[in-house]
């Protein structure tokens, strides 16, 4: 796919995100907008996924993901991004995005398998659990002789959870080298900057010391750089070490007044703010 096409998708996904959180007056736009480029790069360019269409013209999703690359979202609060990408990819209809966080929806506040939404393989939201699940899925692939990779995205605030470090210690010890983990380094969490709230200090040095092969994507809101970085990560994988990508992003990327602040971590725009946001985001694929 051309870079322009990926940028167009990213712009549409960002429109979906702000419209979804506006529609239910709740949700997490900041981190969703910041991680848009990497998740679009993963689903529309980088990952090998089963795109075979089944019932209703949607991708026939298989939970076991045999011979597919798998993606796990550990910081589940950026669900608007995940839902938009899955819908735009073709797992379910984009019109369903309007049900986000509303009663009887498959698009719960945080992602879940429990409502049967295609594309999701585990519930997330309670932080710190996704990397463990990704490790398990990666080890199952090895046991099955499946050569594809497993990706997991975490937040930087999430690095404060102890379970993350249990998993960080495990993956190199057991040589889970088909695992590519990504940390969204936006430097923000609910109560303020990660530096103020609970400094992660040097994540690169920490993960290196734990035995990971650590790389960075410095421009995490440049979709082309995301694609390049993911290609590099894939090249580095399969060599006895899990791969860690430190992804530098801006919380709220794409909407100027949401950028660079923790304030838009978990609140929805009002009508005027929505209009101002949409004015900055060209509609490329048509709104839901």
């Amino acid at each position: 796919m051309q870079t322009q096409e990926l940028q167009d998708i990213a712009s549409q996904v960002r429109r979906d995100i702000v419209r979804m959180v506006h529609g239910c007056k709740s949700g997490h736009p900041g981190g969703s907008l910041g991680c848009t480029d990497i998740v679009v790069a993963l689903y529309f360019q980088h990952m090998k996924t089963n795109n075979r269409k089944g019932k209703g013209g949607y991708i026939s999703f298989k939970m076991d993901g045999t011979d597919e690359d798998l993606f796990f979202l550990s910081n589940g609060h950026i669900s608007p991004l995940f839902y938009s990408v899955l819908a735009r990819k073709g797992y379910f209809g984009v019109e369903e995005l309007s049900t986000f966080r509303k009663l009887n929806s498959r698009l719960q506040g945080h992602p879940t398998t429990h409502e049967g939404l295609p594309g999701i393989r585990v519930a997330s939201g309670s932080l710190g659990q996704g990397m463990s699940v990704a490790i398990g899925a990666a080890m199952a692939k090895k046991l099955n002789g499946d050569k594809q990779s497993v990706y997991v995205l975490m937040g930087d605030g999430e690095q404060q959870e102890g379970q993350v470090w249990e998993a960080a210690q495990f993956a190199p010890h057991h040589k889970v080298d088909n695992l590519i983990a990504i940390i969204d380094l936006n430097g923000q969490q609910i109560d303020g900057s990660t530096e103020e709230v609970m400094s992660n200090r040097d994540l690169k040095a920490k993960y290196k010391a734990f035995g990971w092969n650590v790389m960075e994507i410095k421009e995490g809101n440049n979709v082309e750089e995301c694609v390049k970085g993911l290609r590099k990560a894939k090249r580095l994988s399969g060599k006895g070490q899990p791969i860690m990508i430190l992804l530098h992003t801006d919380m709220g990327a794409g909407v100027d007044f949401m950028m660079g602040s923790h304030k838009w971590h978990g609140i929805a725009p009002n009508d005027e703010q929505l209009a101002a946001a949409l004015a900055q985001l060209p509609s490329s694929l048509g709104d839901y």
Partner: protein, 317 residues
């Protein structure tokens, strides 16, 4: 009173370990995980036969639960094993989100439940796990009574699709059930038919209930004894049928009175058929160090305690 005898005593966790050895051969998708307690869980033979299907997680139970959830995505049947304390309360949220809410086919296999872990004391003597696991949607909770039943239960849950909490003890207890028994999840086992009182027991307290039944028989009391090995889903039909006949019930468990088997039975009775009930259980207390036998006596879980509660509940009829 039906006669129950035994020729040997074994720990229930050995029933788990021996079942795992068999599952290693019969079920190529079974994977064992352990958090640095291989010896305690008796899975060394499984590991020796299938090293590639064993995952040593180290002392990191939260990570173990997540990895187990992930393994199911690739079609594996993971048995995540540790002590009951570390496989329930310590990782409640991991079980809740990554396993139960995510509908993952994980078997949480835990030993050393309850007071009879003994000398290690209250830090390790979980008495709240049945309450936690029973209150969790989507979770099946099983607490078998002896070596043979544990072995049969372990094999049964491997063929059941869905999350299971499978609980064993540490000490050796009489092996009195059949070696070739069929284990039906959610189906109560009628140990002895009687008419004067229903004794509902789980885990190794089933044996105490049998001993109590014999003592009661000597006093002219005809006790019906039911083994509830599956705490959830509870065989409410069997319970109601029995209590409607006997009009009173004593529940027996190595667990807190709050939230365990007794409360599950009370919940059923309160909605369907009112009858006096007495609890043989730990009464809102932590345990302490001691031998298993001493602790059973001090915390009121022996056959004599069951007899006393039976006399009390019959007087309330």
């Amino acid at each position: 009173m039906k006669k129950y005898t035994y020729t040997e005593s074994k720990d229930t966790r050995s029933g788990f370990g021996d079942a795992m050895t068999e599952l290693g051969e019969s079920h190529p998708n079974v994977v064992a995980l352990c958090a640095d307690l291989v010896g305690s869980l008796k899975i060394a033979p499984f590991i020796k036969n299938h090293p590639e299907r064993f995952i040593q997680v180290g002392i990191a139970e939260a990570n173990m639960m997540g990895i187990a959830a992930g393994l199911t995505i690739g079609g594996k049947i993971p048995f995540a094993s540790t002590f009951a304390n570390f496989g329930s309360g310590r990782v409640y949220d991991q079980i809740r989100q990554s396993i139960a809410y995510s509908d993952k086919n994980v078997k949480i296999a835990v030993s050393h439940a309850g007071l009879t872990l003994g000398e290690d004391g209250a830090t390790h003597q979980i008495l709240e796990d049945l309450a936690m696991m029973r209150s969790m949607p989507n979770m099946t909770v099983i607490n078998p009574c002896d070596y043979n039943q544990t072995k049969a239960a372990t094999k049964a849950v491997a063929d059941y699709e869905g999350p299971v909490y499978l609980r064993f003890g540490r000490p050796v207890v009489p092996v009195f059930t059949d070696a070739d028994q069929k284990f039906e999840i959610g189906k109560a086992w009628m140990v002895n038919e009687g008419k004067d009182v229903t004794i509902i027991a789980t885990g190794h307290l089933v044996w105490e209930a049998i001993k109590a039944g014999e003592k009661l028989e000597a006093q002219g009391i005809d006790a019906e004894i039911i083994n509830i090995h599956t705490i959830k889903p509870l065989d409410t039909a069997a319970i109601l049928k029995s209590v409607k006949k006997t009009k009173c019930v004593v529940t027996c468990e190595e667990h807190q009175a709050n939230g365990g088997l007794g409360d599950a039975v009370a919940q059923t009775l309160s909605q369907n058929f009112l009858a006096p009930q007495e609890y043989v259980a730990v009464n809102d207390s932590f345990g302490e160090s001691g031998t298993p036998e001493q602790l059973m006596v001090k915390y009121g879980l022996t056959s004599d305690d069951i007899v006393a509660k039976v006399l009390k509940v019959i007087a309330r009829k």
